[in-house]
Symmetry: C2
Subunit: 169 residues, 2 copies
DNA sequence: CTATAACTTGGAGCCGACTCCAAGTCAAGG
DNA sequence: CCTTGACTTGGAGTCGGCTCCAAGTTATAG
């Protein structure tokens, strides 16, 4: 076997869906380690570097700001997280964020399903239970969601977060 | 019964978790309709307005840019979506986005779980059943996870999204 | 009567995350 | 030798989404 394949920045951009400019930018702000260069100064990437970029891309999708990614990247490939207790806390807390984000998203999906369902049978009043109509054609994902009174749960949820209601002073 | 309760912008901000400034900003860019004013010019909000703001807040959590929200807000409370076929398409396609976002997020959760699991045995002083504390109030979804080779699925996924691989020209 | 507080307005400023540009280097082709 | 193209660099510009500010209005309390 050979010396492990390498990629130009252009190929890397293509593979990761992150633009060349952006990759350079990430390197500039040291979110990515300085890539190795060829003799002519051109960057070269190998699989590991690509994985890192993909991790960034994935974390980005979770809405995480670049700055907050640094610790995650440190632990990226093969580090033992236990060596960085702070990091563990970080991971845990971001996990919570994500889980709650997922539920937020699920609410929106429910909301959309409700709306779509509504339109599907032409005019109909009241919150009738929605459910699968649409959801099966989607990703083979868990439909889970007990489809609660969507509209209510949807709108009620964040209200409580702000604490109070009586103390509207 | 009385004339339906109204709220000041401050109260509204508190309830929705969106700052007064931001609420005014949303009105400024016409993401929100111009709120009614009292005689002294102060904004007043009622339940429906608050719902709209909460919808924005929820959509924001899905990473949707404000501009893209406009159609959603149009259909917000009680419009029949069937009257706006374009909109239905929009809804459908955003639903796709969200579903795929959810799976992205789930991957990150898996990644984190994997990392945490790895470190779990080294060090233990924290509540290691932490996750449940939140998940019950969340989706109420069980761990469900198909527990695939996380690392692999994680890193392989987005590569596939870009289509690529063979066409690294 | 004055001060405090809760609002109003328009506009400026800020930050994160790119995105674009100019100027330069190097490698291969006609 | 000159051009083309893929890259390099540093730095400037852009855009979305706030966030802050100053100046002004009105309401209530001391």
């Amino acid at each position: 076997m050979q010396k492990e394949q390498t990629f130009t920045i252009k190929q890397t951009a293509k593979q990761t869906g992150i633009s060349e400019d952006t990759i350079r930018y990430y390197e500039k702000i040291a979110l990515l380690p300085r890539a190795d260069r060829k003799d002519n100064g051109h960057r070269i990437y190998r699989q590991e570097g690509i994985h890192t970029i993909q991790l960034i891309s994935c974390l980005k999708k979770t809405g995480m700001p670049l700055e907050e990614m640094r610790p995650f990247l440190a632990v990226s490939a093969d580090t033992d997280p236990a060596e960085y207790p702070e990091l563990v806390e970080h991971l845990r807390s971001h996990r919570e964020n994500i889980v709650s984000q997922i539920s937020s998203l699920q609410q929106v999906v429910d909301f959309i399903d409700m709306k779509l369902e509504e339109g599907r049978y032409r005019r109909r009043e009241g919150p009738d239970e929605v459910q699968d109509g649409v959801s099966e054609q989607m990703t083979g994902k868990p439909k889970s969601r007990p489809a609660s009174p969507v509209e209510m749960s949807f709108f009620a949820s964040s209200a409580r977060a702000g604490k109070s209601s009586t103390s509207v002073e």
